[in-house]
Amino acid sequence: MFKIITSVIARDLKLAMRRQADIVSALFFFIIVVSLFPLGIGPEPDLLRKLAPGVLWVAALLATMLSLPRMFADDHRDGTLEQLALAPHPLGMVITGKVIAHWLVSGLPLAMIAPVLGIQFDLSSDALLVLTGAILLGTPALSGIGAIGAALTLGLRGGGVLLSLLVLPLYIPVLIFGAGAVDATVSGLGGEGHLSLLAAMTLAAIGFAPWASAAALKIALE
């Protein structure tokens, strides 16, 4: 049962490693969007410190969005997806593996680079720690919810724009608690409550979203 998850992860990671440019360009998109804000707003450290959590999180949402259409599209094009759907394993399990693989190549690099960008915004070391933790905890939920949108828009014209229209409203709770955790740390309230809620949302998204996207994929493959 769990072997299918690990083998899907291994396969998707291998495919991603063959096309490293995709991972790097999403990462640089994140870095560039975050760097644009100080240029647009001005270099006052107080203002930047206040904006940092929101800016980093919004950029993380957008960077995750960028790689979502590719989650199923390549497999759909060469027929792999149909084979996976026909396989004896539940499709939800397969998608769980794909969601985890997507997080490993999109969410994890964002969390690794986020503290460096946080330093540019003059965040304290406590806040940097919470920021990294929040992005680590929150991005799996983004991959999970995004999988539903990617499955629903599979093979549609204008799929990319449509995908953002469907998925971004559903990302709002993650954005609020993710940025809220850092905000609460900066203001001295402590971000544990927000982090717990983020973890809860991630668990729920990893647990349930693959099954919803399995339903959506079956509709798309009909």
Binding site: L152, G159, L168, L170, P173, F177, A216
Partner: protein
């Protein structure tokens, strides 16, 4: 089951189409009657509010539209669940027929809220929990309509839209509570729409207006569903017979 009272008979477009046609005038008439009574109570009978003066009277539009915007989303999710579970043709059409009305209600609720907010709070828009979640509800309606419009095959559009509606309906309470907590952390809630005491005529006016909007939504949704039925079933005999009837 007795053939006469078999509700499932109306799950088929061919039988539901004439039934909807007969029901629409009744719902439309009810909407007008309830609307006139509600407006009379609200605009002429209800007393002036001692804090907000005459400006509060926009409540008779604002609150019913807000209720309807949330209620219609639930009804759409209900039809989506029925459609996905029993694979019925009509459910998807009902969900799709309701969507523009729901979006309109959400938009009206935001618009009247802005008109009300300007004189009362001095701002068109506040990032309050209720306003934000209503805005997100509007986004969800728009996302649903965009998805359904992007899929050419109507059966696939219904099912994909259904999955999105069910995901959205799970998310609505989460969004509501997240924006609520997020706001209370940043600033004390300066806005509280729930009044502790409300004159009885005001309450009645509001309820009548809500009923009026409800009946209006049913009438409009049924009209739209009838059009969808004709469009999708245009190759069937009953539609051809129906069209021949009207052209005669």
């Amino acid at each position: 089951m007795n053939d006469r009272f078999n509700l499932y008979r109306f799950a088929s477009p061919a039988t539901f189409y004439p039934l909807a046609g007969r029901m629409i005038p009744w719902f439309a008439a009810a909407a007008v009657l309830f609307g006139l009574a509600g407006l009379y109570l609200g605009m002429l009978v209800a007393p002036t509010d001692f804090q907000q003066g005459e400006g509060y009277r926009i409540i008779f539009i604002h609150v019913p539209t807000s209720w309807m915007s949330m209620f219609i989303y639930l009804v759409m999710a209900f039809w989506a669940a029925i459609g996905l579970a029993f694979n019925t043709r009509l459910s998807g059409m009902m969900a799709q027929a309701l969507a523009p009305t729901g979006a309109l209600m959400a938009f009206l609720s935001l618009w009247t809220g802005a008109l009300w907010g300007k004189p009362m709070w001095g701002a068109w828009w506040v990032w309050d929990a209720r306003l934000t979640s209503e805005l997100i509800l509007l986004f969800l309606y728009i996302g649903y309509m965009a998805l359904v419009a992007a899929i050419d095959d109507p059966r696939r559009a219904d099912k994909a839209g259904g999955v999105l509606l069910l995901v959205g309906v799970v998310n609505v309470p989460i969004i509501y509570f997240s924006v609520k907590w997020w706001n209370t952390l940043h600033q004390g809630s300066s806005v509280n729409l729930t009044k502790s005491s409300m004159a009885e005529t005001m309450l009645w006016g509001m309820l009548l207006m809500a009923l009026s909007f409800w009946m209006y939504s049913i009438a409009v949704a049924l009209t739209r569903a009838r059009t969808l039925m004709l469009e999708r079933e245009r190759h069937t005999d009953w539609v051809k017979a129906e069209l021949a009837e009207t052209q005669r």
